[in-house]
Amino acid sequence: MAARLEVQGLSKRFPGVIALEDVSISVERGEIRALLGENGAGKSTLGKIVAGIHAPSSGTVLIDGEEVRLQDERAAGALGIGIVHQEGSLVPQLSVAENIFAGRQPVGRFGQVLVDQMRAEAARLIGQLGVAIDPARRVAELSAAQAQIVEIAKALSHDLKLLILDEPTAALTLNETDRLFDVVRKLAQSGVSIIYVSHRLAEIFALCDRVSVLKDGRLAGTRDVAATSTDELIRLMVGRDVHLHRQADGRVPGRVVLEARQVAAGVMVRDASVTVRAGEIVCIAGLIGSGRSEFCETIFGARKRSGGTIAIDGNAYRPGGTWDAKAAGVGMVPEDRKTSGLFLGMDIVNNIAATVLDKVSDGAKFSQAKAEALAQNFVVEMRISTPSVRQVVGNLSGGNQQKVLLAKWLAMEPKLLIVDEPTRGVDVGARAEIYRLLRALAAKGVALLVVSSDLPEVLALADRIIVMAEGRTVGTLNGGEATEESVLRLATKFTASVAASRATVGADA
Amino acid sequence: MLRLTKQIAGALALGTILTGAHALPVMAQESAFGPADAKETYYWISNKANLPLFVQYDYVGMEKIANELGVRVIVAGPTDFDLPGFISAVDQVCAQHPSGVSVVGGWDPSLTEPVKRCLEQGVPTVVDDGDLPDSGRLAYIGTNWTQVGVAQAKSIMKALPDGGKVATMSIINAGNMREAVAGFNAYIAANGAGKIEIVANEDDGGDAQKAAQVTAALLAAHPDIKAFAGFDSESGAGIVTALREAGKNPGEIVVTAMEQTPDFFKTAKEGWVNGIVVQNRELFIYYAIKLLHDYNHSGLKTAGLDAANGGRAIPDLDTGVLVVSADNVDKVLTALGVK
């Protein structure tokens, strides 16, 4: 029997860029295949070609042994190929049913939408996935995982053969990820082949049967998940050994820089305490919604504090806004660099100058020369790869954007730097660079407070780990002794099976 | 939140002090006249209902007739140039079945339909200051705008015996202005052909600032231009401002204009303007309401039919024009008490 999907010699060139070069893979019926690679490795492009969104420059795609030429997404859908996009395609103001049937609602004689029929059909599709979501609800009211399931239901068709999931867990919590995986497994059992595009190694170990690794548009190798390791996959992705492992570089924590006691702010932060010393990296772990980011925003003055005390260098500190935090020597690298961190339309110089306008001015006059010199220093020091400091930040890669974001805050020479999700959406190579930078900062005596959803990251960076749950700090672990399991056990009452599988299979990072 | 409320309250208080306390000598213009408990209510409806020109003259006639007859006369219509708003004001007023309505018809021919609707509802409706001949209105009371054009043409021809280039300025889409400009053009064509050349008919939108801008551009386009004729109340002020700014001397360029505020007559004395056409505006509403009241009450019949049965027409009334020039401006300034 022919493979469900057979891709032979596929290449794709965009003007000036070779996105895919001579890639051949084959996926069996009911197989869950991971596509792994750094940002820009071509994994999304491959998925999009199979889904009919891009036409290949050369090469062939075979479904069940027959060559297909897909004009567009619709044509692919007719052949039983569905895709769930990374960006998401749902309209939050509309109902679940309307989203599932966007543009193809069942209509009556006068062109009116047959709402009952549409809802019944939507309920049936969602039911196929083994969950229940009221099709009349608005998507805005759903959790991220439910929305993701609606995305999948939207991709389901009468005779679904192949489903492409592009980074489906980016916005999901561990629990939600777990539920999504159940749905995916169920689909695979019913004979649907799955292409799972991701750069999260742990998920691949938890979910997939085989994994194909892409590097610079070429296939670097395909492995059975059961027979490979994190280190091998990283080597395939990066082409060299990268160590994300914990490094005990013998830093000695100094004076207490931040002392937050029983801080409360709104409903998200109820009773949170943390102490950070100079030269120490303290990580806050916890599930999404545990109040980690909100706690940090409160320390930074971006959120109003309703209770508790905070002291910086022993002095009571009550910021009226972020500018007060800045004046006190506190910086914060926000979680989402695109929406709240960077000025994407501006160049590197201006992005870095944003926090230190006083430093790059002569009196009242803004000095382009000083700002440029400052930016130049950071570009060199942080190894930001860019043609010039005048490059618009929106054109940089994710890793380089993240470095600019860090530089923006390093420029003000903070005593305490809060970093929320230091490596979100950053590929493995840049991730190691950022870890190096953070450690170097701590070695220089900066107090670092890091928030991360990525447990391997927490374990690799932290001198101490503070665990938060439901707005409260619920425990402290020593960085050297903690395991993912011990962190998670604190963070949640029930240990998620995802976490269990992460802890057991291959997650040796 | 408390701080926010305080701040807003502070700002509002400051605003109130400025507009309220200091407003004591500042009189907001009345927009209804006559006894508040009058049995009959008449409406006057216009665009830019609080145009200085209207307030200065039309409102005076309105107040006089309201007190004379003991009826209520109310001003309605948008305060800016808003034709849809104007039309809906006519519809809404007539839906209340007032004793009579006078619509300023000169603004736009599209007012024909709402006036028709008023008449269909049995509301006695007349048109003033610009006719709507197809509306079936009971009467037109006001200036014959063709005669306004002719009056300005005569003034210019008198001041320019040797002829020269002339430009006009008006609200180009207002029916009465079109009539005036057509009257002006026709009179020049018939009597000044070969000597006087009309080089442009421009639009100033009833805005002195725009009139000044257009005048300046016309001076550049035609360095030998000899005269400007302005047909809306703001044209004259704009033309004079532009001439002053261009360093012209009074009388160097011939200007004719419509009346604006009493102060504007000074320009005729100073020699900037050769002829200011005065419409006798105070008569418009005075007679419009008087005739409507008469229509409602006189009981006179024609061929045995009374007003309600279509027997009695209201006569049209041409209120005539007065041209203020150097000859009579002193009398006018004295009478109006302008220093």
């Binding site: 709240s340 501006m346 100058a353 803004f366 929106g394 | 807003i8 500042v26 200085p52 016309l218």
Partner: protein
């Protein structure tokens, strides 16, 4: 073969030139202004390039030019003020009421000051509504657009005419050399001063960050709300100044002054390189935008373009100028 290569090279050069122009709206506009002026001067040597015509063009663009300086600041910060025309009228009428001997009669200087203060208060109210109550600027200033206009009518339903000769002198004094009236010089000072401030100073630099990404600016320690409030006050004061001078020029505070001017101002600002999303633009560009529109309007009257066609031409010219953006260097991943 060589022919086609040469042609391709020529095309590439042309594309580079077009890109260069598209990347700097100020430069594009500057060249468009020069081209338009050059063509007009060649075709109408006795009409267009005369001192009196140039004086008239510069003088008449001044009220809009002053407003553009404020609007540019707001649009750089990603917001705008639709109520500026009403603020202009309100401030003009208050200037007249305070100055005119027939009303309060406090004299010309008090009148001018009143215009500025009333404008500033109007701006403050806009700013408070936008930053403290958190109403979107479009809706907030759409509301105050009618409120301020209404206040103008309530203050003086018929306007103030005449104000006084002393007050009118503010709008009528001209410099002895070029003989252009004060309105233009005031605009020039504001444009040059404001242009320098916005381009060079640390304080105004912050507005670019706010427009570029308000959330990121907030998290960079920039006092976003306070700066936006200040921006609205500056806009208000400039509208007040423009309104008072406008009244002085005509020696008459007209209640309907500046109706619809806000769209003209926004048009010039966008034409001059501001983005509706914020984060871009310079005062120089805004002034070039105003100058360009004023020249087009002037050219049409000199060309004897029929009045009904003038609006169409202005619209087409604007669309053309803005459509050059399509050639901008592609970017943003």
């Amino acid at each position: 073969m060589t022919d086609t290569t040469a042609a391709t090279q020529r095309d590439a050069l042309l594309l580079r030139v077009v890109r260069k122009l598209a990347n700097s709206r100020e430069l594009t506009l500057f060249i468009l202004v020069l081209v338009l002026a050059g063509v007009m001067a060649a075709v109408y040597p006795n009409n267009f390039p005369t001192a009196s015509n140039m004086r008239a063009v510069l003088l008449n663009l001044a009220p809009v030019g002053i407003l553009v300086c404020g609007m540019m600041l707001l649009m750089i910060a990603g917001t705008f003020d639709l109520s500026c025309g009403s603020t202009l009228a309100l401030a003009g009428v208050w200037a007249g009421v305070v100055a005119s001997p027939n009303w309060l009669g406090y004299g010309p200087y008090a009148g001018m000051l009143a215009g500025l203060v009333v404008g500033g208060i109007a701006g403050l109210i806009n700013g408070l509504i936008v930053t403290r109550i958190g109403i979107n600027a479009l809706i907030a200033t759409l509301g105050t657009l009618t409120i301020f206009r209404g206040l103008t009518y309530v203050t003086a339903g018929t306007g103030v005419t005449p104000i006084s000769d002393e007050f009118a002198a503010f709008g009528r004094v001209a410099d002895p050399l070029l003989r252009i009236q004060s309105l233009f010089w005031v605009m020039l000072v504001i444009a040059l001063g404001g242009g320098w401030l916005i381009a060079r100073t640390r304080f105004f630099r912050q507005y670019y960050f706010i427009g570029g990404n308000p959330r990121a600016a907030q998290l960079s320690g920039i006092r976003v709300d306070r700066l936006i409030l200040i921006g609205f006050v500056i806009m208000g004061v400039l509208a007040g100044l423009s309104g008072a001078l406008y009244a002085a020029r005509l020696n008459s505070a007209v209640v309907n002054a500046g109706v619809g001017i806000e769209l003209k101002v926004i048009t010039a600002t966008v034409l001059g390189g501001a983005s509706l999303k914020g984060g871009e633009g310079t005062i120089f560009g805004g002034i070039m935008g105003v100058l360009f529109i004023a020249l087009v309007e002037n050219a049409m009257i000199i060309n004897s373009v029929g009045v009904f066609w003038q609006g169409i031409v202005v619209g087409l010219v604007l669309l053309f100028a803005v459509s050059l953006d399509r050639f901008k260097t592609p970017g943003r991943g």
